[in-house]
Amino acid sequence: MPESYPREHIEDLVDDNLEWNQLHDMMSDFKDADRFQQVRDVLQERVDWDDPIIIPYADHLYVVAKPDGRWVIKCDCGHEFCEHDENWKMDALINVRDSEEAYLEIYPEDMHPHPDYMELREFFCPGCNTLLEVTNVMPGYPLIHEFEPDIETFYSEWIEEPIPTAEPESA
C-alpha cells in the first residue's frame, strides 16, 4: 500500500493517462493518505487562473478562495458561478429535453422517457458551454442542490490543515 503515490502517478490519474491495470490496482489497494492534497495541487497547476482551489467540487468545477475572502464555485474556463454554499445551477444555462424529437437525438424510439413524465435538464457553463450536469426529473420538479460540502469540518477535523486563502488584492 503506498502511503502516497508519486506525483507523476497522480498527474497521470488527473490527465487520464493510466492503464486499466494501474487503475485496478488503485481500486484494490488501501487508500493513500495524501490523495486530496496531491490531486488538488495537480489541478491547481492545470487551471489557467490563480485562485487557490479549496476543493474540487465536480467535473470542471472547483470551490476557490477569492482575495476578498469569499469562497466561490468556479469552472476551469474561469467562469465564476456563485458562493460555495449556493446552487451553481441557478447561474447556469439550461436546455430541457421534453419532447419526442429532442429525446430521439440521444435515444432510439421507445427507449427514452415519456416527455409528459420525465424531462432531461441539461446545465451548461455560461463561460465555455460545457455540459456540466444532466438531471432526469418529473416536470415541475425544483432544482436539486446536490452537494453542500462542510469545508470547515473537513479541513479542521478530517485533514487538520488550514483552509487555502488567496492573497488579498493590493490596493
Partner: protein, 840 residues
C-alpha cells in the same frame, strides 16, 4: 453430521445441548448469556451501545489489539466457512437461479441478531435475516414457540425482515453449554411463491393477498427435522414444489455447515473467545465504515431525487378495480455525512405507498443500502452489521419506503428500491471526486429489468413457473476513469451472471433465437454507461402458458453524472400468432434481435400480432407455441459531457454494438462514414465505419455554439416554470398526483416545494376525481403494523410521523445557505476520533 450419525444416534451433541437448555429452563434461566432471557440480553446490548457509542459497549478491541493474528485467523476462518457453505450447498439446488446465478447467501449472527460475518452472494440479506431474528426476540419467541437446539425457523415475511416473499430464509440457533451463542441463516430466491400469477415476483396484485405465501418467522422443525405439518404445507403453496424442496435442503445444508464451523471454532478457541470475536467484529465493522468514509469522502450534505414508473391504467388481469391506475415513485434522497464519518439517510418527501407490488419495508431499504455499500465503501470481507450501526435512516412512515401496513404488496420491492438508491451512487461519487479518489467514482447503476416471468404447463407437461435471472447481468454505470462495464452485474447480486442459454432452456420452455449486446442502452457521456443486452425468446411445447414483463418504461431511474446522460428506459416487444414455425420449416429468415427499434427489421421478418409499446410493465398474458418475447436488459448511466468523448472510442462503440451509427452524430457530434457493408465485428453489428476527423471537429464546434444559442439562463427558465406550475399548464394528472401525494405525506417537502417555486400558501394541484379518490383511499387506510412490541433500538423507524420533524433533519431549501449538520447524538454520543483500522 455424518460422524454424529455414525455413532448410532442422530445428532447426539444437539440432544445433549437440548437437555442442558431444559435443565436451565427448569431453574428459571433464559437461553441468553448468564441465564438472561434473550430479550433482556438484546435490550442490554442496545443500552450499552447507546451509552458508550460502541457496539455492545466494546470501547476497546482487546482480542484484536492483544492477539491480532488470532483475531484475523478466527474471522477469516468463519468467513471462509460461510463462503464454503454457499459454494457447497448451491450444488444441492436445482434452479439456475441458485446454481447458476448464485442467488444465495449465508450469514452468522449474534444471539441478538446482529450479523458477524456474511458469505458472498446476495448480501442484501446481511441485514434482512438480522431483522427476522430481532423480530423473533422482540415477540418473545423464547417463550413461544421456544428457541431450542435443533430448531428450524423459516421466514419470508418482508414486514418481519426480508425484501420480498420470494427470498425464503432458514434460520437455526446455535447453542453451547445451554446458551445461545449464535444463529446461522441462509436465504435464496425461489422460482415461484404461489402468487396470483406465476413466477417469483408477480406484478398484477394490488395487495399482500396476491403476493403469494408468506411465512412469518415460523418454527418449521425441531431436532433438525422438519415438522410433517410444514412438509405437507409449503409444497402446495408453490407451482414449483420440487425446486422449493431442494432449495430448502440447500439452505439447511449451508446452515448445518455453519453450525459445525462454529462448533469447531469454539472447540479450538473456547466459547469466551468466540463471544469476544463476535462482538469485536461488529464494533470493528462499525469503526471501519466510519474510517473509510473519513478517508475517502467529504462531510456535508448530498442530495438527489429518483423516479420510476409503474403504469397500471388499462392493464388486464388486475386483482382490484382500484388498482387500475398509474403510479410514479418519488424518492428524494438526502445523505448527511457527519463529522464522525457516520451516515444519516433520509427519504423525507417520498410519496405514499400504492396498490402495486413495489412497496418496501425498512428491512428492504436497509438491506438495499448494504448491498450497495459493500460494492463501494466496504469492498472487503469485513462486511457485517457494524455498518448498520453507523447509519441512521429516516424512512417516512406510510410512504412506499416504509408502508407499516401489512396489507401492502411487496413482490417486486426492488423496482422501487433499486431506483430509489440510484442517487446514493452519486452521493458517494461526489464525495470521492472532491477527495481525489477518482478511481472509485461511478455514475450509477442499471434499472435491473426486464424481468421475464411466467408459467403454465411446460415442455415436460408439468405445472411450472419461470423467472429468468438474465437480469442479473445489466450494464453498469460509467466510472470516472473508464466506461461502465457492459452486461456485467446487478446491484443486488455483485456476482452477476447472465447464465448459460442452454441451462435456461432446460428449465424454461423458451428457446433462445438470439442474444446480443443492445445498442444505446448505456447512457451517453465522456465515459459511456455499460450497455445492456437482449435475448429474443420463443415459446415451445406449452399449454395455458403466461408471460409478462416488468421494468421501467416512461421514466429512467438512473441519472447520469457530471454531464453524462441517463441510461435508456425500457419497452415491450412481443409477437403472437406468428408464422415462425413455417419460417423454420422453409428455412426463411426470422428475427433474432431488435437492435434498433426504429429499423423495422423485426417486423420485416415475422408475421403475426406484434405488440411494440414504450411501457415496461405488463400483467400476465397468454402465450402459445412460436410466440415471441424480447427480454431487454438495461444499461448503466453515463458520465461527463459526451462531446468530450474521444471520437475514436465512438467508432469502436459502433463496431462493438454499443451505439447506433446515427447516434454517433446526434449524441456525440462524431461524424462517421460507412466504408464496408460486409465486415463483421465481435458483435451483432455488420459493417465498417471510419471517423471523419475534420468533419467531427467542425461539428463539435458548431454544437458548442448551438448550446449557447438554444439554451437559456436558468433564472429565465425558472420564471417560465413557476408560471407553468401556478397555472398547472402541461402537467399531467399522474405527475400532479405524485406531487400531491408527497406534499400530503411530508409537511417539509410541501414547504420546500412552495418556497422553491414561490407558490401561494394555499396552492395545491388540481387533480382528477380518480386521482383524488386514489389518494384519499390510501391515506385513509392508515397503518397496520407488524412489530407491536419493538425494543427501543427498533423504534427509530417507527417513531417518526408525517407531522413531526424527522429525526434526520430535512435540509432541502429554496434559499441558498448551508445548514448546520446535526450532531452525532442522534445515534451515538461519542464524537471522538477513532484509530484507523486496516479494513479499508
Amino acid at each position: 453430521m455424518s460422524t454424529e450419525q455414525n455413532e448410532g444416534e442422530s445428532f447426539p451433541r444437539m440432544r445433549r445441548e437440548k437437555e442442558r437448555v431444559h435443565e436451565q429452563q427448569e431453574q428459571g434461566d433464559g437461553i441468553g448469556w448468564d441465564g438472561q432471557t434473550l430479550r433482556d440480553q438484546f435490550e442490554a446490548l442496545e443500552e450499552k451501545t447507546e451509552e458508550t457509542g460502541h457496539y455492545a459497549g466494546f470501547e476497546q478491541l482487546e482480542l484484536k489489539q492483544n492477539n491480532p493474528i488470532e483475531y484475523e485467523q478466527m474471522f477469516a476462518q468463519l468467513r471462509g466457512d460461510l463462503v464454503n457453505a454457499r459454494e457447497t450447498s448451491k450444488e444441492v439446488a436445482a434452479t439456475p437461479i441458485v446454481e447458476q446465478e448464485g442467488e444465495l447467501c449465508y450469514g452468522l449472527f449474534t444471539p441478538e441478531g446482529d450479523s458477524i460475518a456474511v458469505s458472498t452472494g446476495i448480501i442484501v440479506h446481511i441485514h434482512t435475516m438480522s431483522e427476522a431474528i430481532k423480530y423473533m426476540i422482540n415477540h418473545d419467541y423464547e417463550e413461544s414457540p421456544g428457541i431450542e437446539p435443533g430448531d428450524i425457523f423459516v421466514n419470508n415475511d418482508t414486514h418481519v425482515g426480508d425484501v420480498h416473499a420470494c427470498d425464503i430464509m432458514t434460520l437455526i440457533p446455535i447453542f453451547h453449554e445451554g446458551e445461545l451463542v449464535a444463529w446461522a441463516g441462509g436465504v435464496n430466491h425461489v422460482i415461484d411463491t404461489g402468487a396470483i400469477g406465476p413466477g417469483s415476483m408477480n406484478v398484477s396484485q394490488a395487495s399482500r393477498f396476491g403476493d403469494g405465501a408468506y411465512y412469518t418467522a415460523r418454527k418449521v422443525g425441531e431436532d433438525l427435522k422438519l415438522f410433517n405439518s410444514w412438509k405437507k404445507d409449503y409444497p402446495d403453496k408453490t407451482r414449483t414444489p420440487d425446486f422449493l424442496k431442494l432449495d430448502e435442503r440447500t439452505r439447511m445444508t449451508g446452515c448445518l455447515m455453519i453450525r459445525d464451523a462454529v462448533k469447531n471454532i469454539i472447540d479450538e478457541y473456547g466459547v469466551k473467545q468466540f463471544k469476544q470475536l463476535s462482538r469485536e467484529a461488529i464494533e470493528d465493522g462499525r469503526r471501519g465504515f466510519r474510517n473509510r468514509i473519513k478517508k475517502t469522502m467529504l462531510p456535508g450534505t448530498y442530495r438527489g431525487a429518483s423516479f420510476v414508473d409503474a403504469l397500471y391504467e388499462g392493464q388486464d388481469n388486475l386483482t382490484r378495480a382500484y388498482a387500475d391506475e398509474n403510479h410514479l415513485m418519488h424518492a428524494p434522497s438526502e445523505l448527511h455525512v457527519r463529522e464522525d464519518g457516520s451516515f444519516q439517510v433520509s427519504f423525507e418527501g417520498a410519496n405514499k405507498w400504492g396498490w402495486h407490488p413495489y412497496n418496501c419495508t425498512p428491512a428492504a431499504i436497509q438491506g438495499g443500502i448494504w448491498v450497495m455499500l459493500t460494492q463501494t465503501v466496504i469492498p472487503n470481507s469485513n462486511v457485517n452489521d457494524g455498518a448498520y450501526y453507523s447509519c441512521d435512516f429516516h424512512l417516512p412512515v406510510g410512504s412506499w419506503a416504509n408502508t407499516q401496513n401489512t396489507e401492502t404488496a411487496h413482490a417486486y420491492a426492488w423496482h422501487f428500491l433499486v431506483s430509489a438508491w440510484a442517487p446514493l451512487w452519486q452521493h458517494l461519487s461526489r464525495g470521492y471526486f472532491s477527495r481525489g479518489f477518482w478511481e472509485e467514482i461511478n455514475a450509477g447503476n442499471a434499472n435491473t429489468s426486464n424481468w421475464l416471468q411466467g408459467g403454465g404447463i411446460d415442455q415436460f407437461d408439468k405445472l411450472h413457473a419461470v423467472n429468468s435471472f438474465e437480469s442479473a447481468c445489466e450494464g453498469v454505470g460509467a466510472r470516472y476513469v473508464e466506461d461502465g462495464e457492459p452486461h456485467a452485474a446487478a446491484i443486488w447480486n455483485p456476482e452477476g451472471d447472465m447464465g448459460d442459454a442452454e441451462v435456461w432452456e432446460m428449465t424454461e420452455p423458451l428457446p433462445f433465437l438470439g442474444r446480443a449486446v443492445k445498442p444505446n442502452t448505456g447512457g451517453a457521456g465522456r465515459r459511456a454507461g455499460g450497455a445492456g443486452f437482449e435475448s429474443m425468446r420463443t415459446v415451445k411445447d406449452v399449454s395455458r402458458w403466461l408471460l409478462y414483463e416488468m421494468g421501467n418504461g416512461y421514466m429512467t431511474s438512473d441519472g447520469g453524472l457530471f454531464g453524462g446522460y441517463p441510461a435508456a428506459s425500457g419497452y415491450i416487444l412481443n409477437a403472437q400468432n406468428t408464422d415462425l414455425e413455417e419460417r423454420f420449416e422453409n428455412q426463411e429468415d426470422y428475427p433474432q434481435h431488435d437492435l434498433d427499434p426504429e429499423s423495422g427489421d423485426f417486423e420485416s421478418k415475422i408475421n403475426g400480432d406484434i405488440t411494440r409499446r414504450p411501457e415496461g410493465i405488463s400483467t400476465p398474458k397468454e402465450f402459445d407455441d412460436y410466440d415471441m418475447y424480447l427480454n431487454y436488459l438495461r444499461g448503466g448511466s453515463g458520465l461527463g459531457d459526451p462531446l468530450e468523448r474521444d471520437p475514436e472510442d465512438v467508432v469502436a462503440d459502433i463496431h462493438d454494438g454499443y451505439v447506433l451509427p446515427r447516434h454517433a452524430k446526434d449524441a456525440y457530434a462524431v461524424v462517421v462514414e460507412k466504408v464496408d457493408d460486409e465486415a463483421k465485428h465481435n458483435s451483432a453489428v455488420q459493417g465498417e465505419w471510419e471517423l471523419d476527423e475534420e468533419a467531427t471537429e467542425e461539428l463539435r464546434e458548431e454544437r458548442m455554439q448551438e448550446r449557447a444559442e438554444t439554451s437559456q439562463p436558468v433564472t429565465e427558465w425558472y420564471e417560465e416554470q413557476r408560471e407553468r406550475i401556478r397555472t398547472e399548464e402541461n402537467l399531467i394528472d399522474d405527475v400532479k398526483k405524485t406531487y400531491e401525494s408527497s406534499m400530503r405525506m411530508s409537511k417539509q417537502f410541501a414547504e420546500f416545494y412552495h418556497e422553491f417555486w414561490d407558490l401561494p400558501e394555499d396552492f395545491d394541484f388540481t387533480l382528477s376525481e380518480k386521482a383524488e379518490k386514489s389518494l384519499e383511499n390510501r391515506f385513509k387506510t392508515g397503518l397496520k403494523q407488524k412489530w407491536d412490541n419493538p425494543t427501543k433500538g427498533h423504534e427509530t423507524w417507527l417513531g417518526v410521523g408525517r407531522d413531526d420533524e424527522p429525526e434526520v433533519p430535512y435540509t432541502w431549501t429554496a434559499d441558498r445557505t448551508i445548514q448546520d449538520l446535526p450532531t452525532p447524538d442522534a445515534s451515538f454520543s461519542d464524537t471522538k476520533a477513532e484509530p484507523a483500522t486496516d479494513d479499508d
